[in-house]
C-alpha cells in the first residue's frame, strides 16, 4: 500500500505523474503544493493518510529563468529553497515519528541540454537540490527514508513542432536520431523509481537521456 504525494503538480509532468499513480491499485495519489505545508493542520491531515510506504515527489516548480541582470533573482531562488527545506523537514519529522517508510524524489532539469530548447531552466536551484539530495541521503542513512533526484529533459509534449525540429538538429551532438521522450515514458520512468526498492542507491540522481554527462564537470 502506497501513499503518493505529488508536490507542485501544475505542469504537464506533474499532471502525468498524478494520473499515472492514480491508476495504481491499492495506492492513494494526491496533489500538494509547497503552500500546503503552511497550513496549521497539515500534519494531522497527512498523518491520517500515511501508509506503510510513502512517496513524495517534488516536481520542479522553479522554472523562473534568469534573463538579464536581475538583482532580485537570488531572493526568489532562496525563497523557493526555503519553502522546500520547510516542507522536507515537516515530512521527514512526521515519517520518523510515525515509524513509516518514506521516499523523496526531486525532479530537476538537465542544464546540459538547455541550449537545445526554450524550456526554462534554473541550474542554481537544480544544483542546490542535487546537493541537498546527496546530503539528506547521507544524513538519514540509518532510517527508512531515502532520497533520489530525477534530472529530466524536456518531453515532446512540452515543445512545439518547430522547437522539436530544432531540438533534434541540435541534439545530434549527443546521440544519433535523438528525439525528446514522450511524457508517458517519463512518467513511467519516475513511477519505476518511486515503486522500486532503491534504498542501496539513496542519494543518486537519475539522469534521463542517452550518455549525457551526469556531473558535467
Amino acid at each position: 500500500m502506497n501513499l503518493i504525494g505529488v508536490v507542485n503538480p501544475k505542469n504537464v509532468v506533474g499532471e502525468a505523474l498524478l494520473k499515472s499513480f492514480s491508476d495504481l491499485p491499492g495506492a492513494e495519489a494526491f496533489a500538494m503544493t509547497v503552500n500546503s505545508f503552511d497550513i496549521e493542520d497539515f500534519e494531522d491531515l497527512i498523518r491520517t493518510k500515511l501508509k506503510e510506504d510513502n512517496i513524495f515527489i517534488f516536481n520542479s516548480k522553479f522554472t523562473d529563468e534568469l534573463k538579464e541582470v536581475d538583482i532580485n533573482y537570488a531572493d526568489r531562488v532562496c525563497a523557493e529553497l526555503g519553502d522546500l527545506f520547510r516542507a522536507i523537514k515537516k515530512l521527514t519529522n512526521l515519517l520518523l515519528r510515525e515509524g513509516k517508510k518514506g521516499k523523496f524524489i526531486f525532479i530537476t532539469t538537465n542544464p546540459s541540454i538547455s541550449h537545445s530548447s526554450s524550456f526554462p531552466i534554473s541550474p542554481i536551484y537544480d544544483g542546490a537540490v542535487h546537493s541537498l539530495v546527496r546530503s539528506l541521503a547521507k544524513e538519514f542513512k540509518s532510517t527508512q527514508l531515502i532520497f533520489h533526484g530525477v534530472c529530466i529533459e524536456p518531453v515532446c509534449e512540452m515543445i512545439n513542432e518547430s522547437e522539436l525540429r530544432d531540438y533534434q538538429r541540435r541534439m545530434k551532438v549527443y546521440a544519433m536520431r535523438k528525439r525528446p521522450i514522450r511524457l508517458e515514458a517519463l512518467a513511467d520512468f519516475i513511477k519505476n523509481v518511486a515503486l522500486t526498492n532503491l534504498g542501496l542507491s539513496s542519494g543518486s540522481i537519475f539522469y534521463i537521456g542517452e550518455g549525457l554527462d551526469q556531473l558535467n564537470f
Partner: protein, 248 residues
C-alpha cells in the same frame, strides 16, 4: 602577469581568500577585498605586506549579500578604477547542524548569504567587466560538500551546489562578453573552518584522499591564479576540484 589588473576577492582576509589575495599581490595586481567583520585580521594582513604591495591592497567592509552595500561598493570601484578584470567569489558562511534540528533561520542565513553573495556580486561585476575589451574572469569558490553532499551540512552543501549552478548559468550568459566563469572546488583545506572538526573526522578524510593529506590554502590559490591568467583560454563553465583526489 597580473600587473595593471583590478581584482576583487570577497572574503579575502582569511583562509583561502587571503591566500588568493596574497598571490595576486605578489604578481603586481591591484586587489580589492571585501570582508564583513574582522577589522583586526584586515589590519594585520596589510601590515604584513611589503610597502609596494600595501599600496595595492584595498579593503571594503560590508556584507556582499546585502544589495545596497554591493551597489554602493561597485559604484566606488567604478569611480576609482573604471574597470574590473577578475572577480573571485570566495565569501561564504557555514552553520552546521543536523537537518531535523536545523532552525529555519539557520537554513535561510547560510543559503541566502552564500547564494546571494555569489550571484549578485557576479551580476554587478559583469556590468563593469563588459566595459573593457579585455577578457575577464569570474571564479566561484564552492566546496566538496556541494559536490558530494554532507551529513550535518545540508544548508551549506545546498548553497555550495547552487554556486556551481551559478557558474553554469553565468558562463553561458556572459560568453559573448568575453567573461569566463569557472568554479574551484576545494576539498579539506587547512583553514579556520576545520579547527572545530574532530581529529578523527579529519583523519578519515585524509585516508579517503589520494594525496593522503589535507590541502593548503596556497594550493587552492594557485589554481585560481592559473584559471585567471589567460592561459586557460578554452576553459569556461567548468569545475576544477582541488581536493587531493578525494574519494577517487
Amino acid at each position: 602577469m597580473f600587473s595593471n589588473k583590478v581584482i576583487i576577492v570577497t572574503g579575502g582576509t582569511k583562509g583561502i581568500g587571503k591566500s588568493i589575495v596574497l598571490e595576486f599581490l605578489k604578481r603586481g595586481a591591484e586587489v580589492i577585498t571585501v570582508y564583513s567583520r574582522d577589522d583586526s585580521a584586515a589590519e594585520m594582513m596589510k601590515k604584513g605586506l611589503p610597502a609596494d604591495q600595501q599600496d595595492k591592497l584595498f579593503f571594503h567592509k560590508g556584507s556582499v549579500n546585502v544589495t545596497n552595500f554591493l551597489r554602493k561598493f561597485f559604484y566606488e570601484i567604478e569611480s576609482k578604477f573604471d574597470k574590473l578584470n577578475i572577480l573571485i567569489n570566495n565569501a561564504g558562511i557555514n552553520r552546521d547542524d543536523l537537518f531535523l534540528n536545523m532552525e529555519d533561520s539557520v537554513w535561510d542565513k547560510v543559503v541566502t548569504t552564500n547564494i546571494k553573495s555569489a550571484l549578485n556580486t557576479s551580476l554587478l561585476a559583469s556590468n563593469l567587466m563588459k566595459k573593457s575589451m579585455e577578457p575577464a574572469y569570474i571564479i566561484n569558490v564552492s566546496s566538496i560538500s556541494g559536490v558530494f553532499g554532507r551529513a550535518g551540512q545540508a544548508n551549506y552543501a545546498c548553497s555550495k551546489g547552487a554556486i556551481i549552478g551559478v557558474m553554469r548559468l553565468l558562463a553561458k550568459k556572459f560568453t559573448q562578453d568575453r567573461i569566463f566563469v569557472n568554479t574551484v572546488v576545494p576539498g579539506l583545506v587547512n583553514t579556520e573552518m576545520i579547527m572545530d572538526m574532530p581529529r578523527e573526522k579529519i583523519e578519515e578524510i585524509i585516508r579517503a584522499t589520494i594525496l593522503n593529506r589535507i590541502g593548503e590554502t596556497e594550493e587552492v590559490a594557485k589554481v585560481v591564479l592559473s584559471l585567471t591568467s589567460g592561459d586557460f583560454s578554452y576553459v569556461s563553465g567548468t569545475c576544477i576540484k582541488v581536493d587531493g583526489g578525494y574519494l577517487k
